[in-house]
Point group: C2
Chain length 193, copies 2
DNA sequence: CTACGATTTAAACGGTCGTTCAAACCTGTG
DNA sequence: CACAGGTTTGAACGACCGTTTAAATCGTAG
């Protein structure tokens, strides 16, 4: 098996453990055992535990930023852009690295790594707010504080990983659509008066 | 100083530490040092660390449930009820025990204590959904899955404690109103049409 | 002032966990 | 078959942390 495959396997196991127990609550041994390997072996692929957490964030933030840049360039209305991003975000959170992105406590990272994560997150936040601002300017959304609105939307989505049950009745697709309906709808309706 | 005061002092310090570092990341010593006491001293007031976490949850959930029962009995429209609850919830999260309520990882509790927290949380969830359902029946809210709508609203609010900066420009009051406007907003405007 | 209960301290204990390391193992090439 | 590089193991370490305990200290009623 290629070393890069092994690395992402570890990332998935780690992300799942971090989501269940938090960074400090999950043990390196727990991450390794889920893959039927010894914990010492993990150190052949990663420098240390923090490095694994950082890789989790980087992995999903890079996917997210790629998507953001794509969507920003599409010639569609702001509400459509938001909907697309929310759907993709929910899919990423639930189906890729289990609930990573902004969820896995990044404050556990040391300052230099933390700063790199924050920089990427900021780019994403700026993109979201630009879209929201554009929607307000175009009269699609009710006027308000784009920052608060973005925090509300991202909070709702990030929180999904706290209650999502893969064996439950809702698929990630259904959840994504429900959330997109509500979150974009709330931004929009007031302007319809 | 009365023993009960000392206990809530400890709860506040613990809640702040748990919010910053998570339950496993925060040390008992850290909680004690912030109050200029020794960690051994904490064990005069609490049986163990888990007991402190449980008390945090109980403290804020009890306040929340009291409020929920009050609001449910008021003779006002569903959107007004939601707005009231959101405002109070934001205030509780930001100004009382720093970001407790549903935020402080309850899954770190042992099964019996966890079950008690979940029972209280369930009562709150049922109240929220009953209000949302009523709002949909009355034509105040767009039809949809009340469960998803509740999850979205609670996620947005719970997430606030992840980004809130007490020394930032927004007061908890302003944040609460912004969130209430966005999350239940459409009802007010729709009624004006 | 004394005595007693409530409170606090400081040190020690076990246990867990992240990390290291030398040795063993595996796999494919010459 | 022998060798070499990459991979895995298992044990050991040192540090940290939750908890316990016995003794010290404090505050107050008599």
């Amino acid at each position: 098996m290629a070393a890069t495959d092994r690395r992402t396997e570890i990332l998935k196991s780690a992300a799942a453990a971090f989501r269940r127990r938090g960074y400090h609550g999950a043990s390196v041994d727990e991450i390794a055992s889920a893959l039927a390997m010894t914990k010492g072996n993990l150190y052949y692929y990663f420098r240390n535990k923090e490095d694994i957490l950082y890789a989790c964030h980087e992995y999903s933030l890079d996917i997210l930023l790629l998507l953001m840049r794509e969507v920003l360039d599409e010639p569609i209305a702001a509400d459509e852009k938001l909907r697309k991003l929310i759907l993709a975000f929910v899919h990423l959170i639930l189906d890729e690295l289990q609930g990573t992105a902004l969820t896995l406590d990044p404050e556990a990272l040391s300052p230099p790594l933390f700063a790199k994560v924050i920089a990427k997150r900021d780019e994403f936040d700026r993109g979201m707010r630009a879209i929201i601002q554009q929607g307000m300017d175009d009269g699609l959304f009710a006027k308000g504080d784009p920052k608060m609105m973005e925090f509300a939307m991202m909070g709702a989505v990030n929180w999904i990983s706290k209650w999502f049950d893969p064996s439950g009745p809702m698929t990630s697709q259904q959840i994504g659509e429900s959330f997109a309906d509500y979150l974009v709808g709330q931004a929009r309706v007031a302007a319809l008066k």
